[in-house]
Amino acid sequence: MGRVEPVAVLGIGMHPWGKWGKNFVEYGLVAANAALKDAGLTWSDIEFISGADTIRNGYPGFIAGATFAQALGWNGTRVSSCYAACASGAQALANARAQILAGLCDVALVIGADTTPKGFFAPVGGDRKDDPDWLRFHLMGATNPAYFALYARRRMALYGDTHADFAMVKVKNSRHGLANEFARYRKEVSVEEVLASPVVADPLRLLEICATSDGAAALVVTSLDFARKHSGLSGAVKVAGISTVTPSFPNTVIEMPNFSTDSAVTHEISGPTFRDSIAWAAYEEAGIGPQDVDLAEVYDLSSALELDWYENIGLCKPGEGARLIRDGDTQIGGKIPVNPSGGLSCFGEAIPAQALAQVCEMVTQLRGNATGRQVDGAKVAVSANQGLFGHGSSVVVTK
C-alpha cells in the first residue's frame, strides 16, 4: 500500500456512554453537533456524511448516514452508510477519507451511534439455519464471551498468564476511566474485587467482560488544505493511517461466529495471524512503526484480550503481554499507556460508535486536553479493533 496522505481532524464529539434507553438518533445528534461546534463549522459546511450502521435499531439503523442527514436537516449532502460490526466506525471514517483524498469533497462528518439491549449480544431474530451467527448460539450456546475465554485460556496454557494478570488489566482501565466524563463506569476496582466477581466463561469473570452500552461519537474530518484555510491551524491532529484489512487464508485462529478455522493443509502456518496484521496496515500508511507510538486504544472486549492486542500491534513480542501489565508499562505514566480512555472496560461496547470513540480519545490526548488522564507529550497514537466476520480496524493519528 505504501504511505497515504493524511486528513485533518477538526472536530470531535461524543454522547456519554450508558444505558439511557433513548433512540440512537438522539445520541448521534448530540455527538454530531458537538463535533461541528468543536470544528467551528455548521451542518451546512458538510459536503459528505458517513454513517456507521447499527443493526439493532430497525431500518433507520441500516441506513444510518441518511438517518443522521435527515435528523440534521436534508440539504442535499452526499451520503454513505456502512456496516462492519465492531469495525463500522473505522470503515465509516475510511469512506470519508477516501472522498476527501479523491478530491470529491473537503469536509466530511462521520457518525456512529447505538442503542443496545440488556445482557449478552444475541443474534438477530428469526429461524436462520444458514447464518453461522444464529447457529453458534443454537447448536453450541457459544456466546461472545465464550470466544474471548478460549483466547484467555490459550494464553494461560501457552504463556503462563494468570487470573491475576487478567484482573490487573481491569484494575488499570478502571483507574484510567475515572476522569473520563464520557465513560459509563467510573469506579476504581481492585484485583480482589475482580477475582471475587462471578465466572461468566472460564477463566473470565463478570468484571473482565465488556458490557453493551448506548453511546455515540462523531468526527469532522477535512482535507489538509481546508484545515489550513479554515482555521489557519497547522497544528490540527491528523488521521495518518486507517486499516480496514480482511484476514488472509488460512485464518487459523477460531473466530466469532465460526464453528471452525480454515484448514491449513495447503499452507505452512508461520505468518502473522489476522489480529497481528490489523495495525500494521495502518502503520504502513502512516509511515511509522510501533516504536513510534506514544499511546494505544485497543479493543478490550475482555481483560485478557487486551494482552493479546499488546502483542498484535507490536508493543511487545508474543507471550510478553502479561509482563507489560505486571511492570506497569501500559498505565498512564508508564512506557506505553494503553486505553487511557478507560477502554471498553469503562465504556461498554456501543458497536458503531466504538471505533470512532477510540479516535476521539486519541485526538483529545494529542491535543493535550485529556484532563486527569493525559499522556504527557503524546504525538502519535494507534487504535485497534476487530469486527465480526473478518473486519480489521486500526487508525493512526499524529500531531
Binding site: 448460539f137 484467555a152 496454557a157 465466572v199 466463561a201 471452525s260 491449513a264
Partner: protein
C-alpha cells in the same frame, strides 16, 4: 397422561447434514476440495476458499473423530435464544479441538458432565453424539467432544 411423556422420543439431528449421529461411529461431515485438498466444516460446495485455488468440485468427507484440545471454556450463565436451555439451566463446557489431518480447529460442547476442571489444552478428545435439547416429539442430537479416557470431576463435596 404423565406416562405418555415417558415414551421414547424420536431422535433427530439438530442440524441436517453436519454430522453422522451413528452411535458406533459418529463423525462430523465436511467436504474436501478435489484440487487443493483443503477441508471444510461446515461443508463448502460452491467455491474453494483457498485464494490460490478456483475449484468448484468437492468430495464429502468424514472428519477425524479424534483431536486435541486447542482451548476450552464454559457457559456459567444461560445463553440467550436460539439456544434451548434446560430448566434449570445447567452450565456446560465448550472446547475448540485441533484436528491433525485436517489442520483445522473445530468447536463443540464438551460431553455431558465434563466441566472445565476435567479439561486441559493439549488433551486428547473424541467425538460423541448426545442430546442437545428436546421438545414434545423429538430429542435433538448434537456432536460433542469427550476427553479420551479421562474421568469426570467428582460432583461430591470434598
Amino acid at each position: 397422561m404423565l406416562c405418555l411423556m415417558e415414551i421414547a422420543k424420536n431422535a433427530v439431528v439438530a442440524i441436517e447434514g453436519w454430522f453422522d449421529p451413528s452411535p458406533s461411529n459418529p463423525a462430523l461431515l465436511g467436504t474436501q476440495c478435489t484440487e487443493c485438498s483443503t477441508f471444510y466444516f461446515p461443508r463448502e460446495e460452491l467455491f474453494c476458499k483457498n485464494p490460490r485455488c478456483s475449484s468448484t468440485s468437492f468430495d464429502q468427507v468424514r472428519l477425524s473423530s479424534r483431536g486435541t484440545i486447542w482451548s476450552f471454556t464454559d457457559a456459567q450463565y444461560q445463553p440467550p435464544p436460539p439456544y434451548v436451555s434446560g430448566d434449570p439451566f445447567e452450565p456446560f463446557a465448550l472446547v475448540a479441538v485441533e484436528l491433525e489431518r485436517e489442520k483445522m480447529v473445530v468447536m463443540g460442547q464438551a460431553a455431558h458432565g465434563y466441566q472445565v476442571d476435567d479439561l486441559s489444552v493439549g488433551m486428547a478428545v473424541e467425538l460423541v453424539v448426545e442430546t442437545l435439547y428436546e421438545d414434545e416429539n423429538n430429542s435433538y442430537l448434537i456432536w460433542r467432544w469427550k476427553p479420551d479416557g479421562a474421568s469426570k470431576t467428582s460432583k461430591q463435596a470434598p
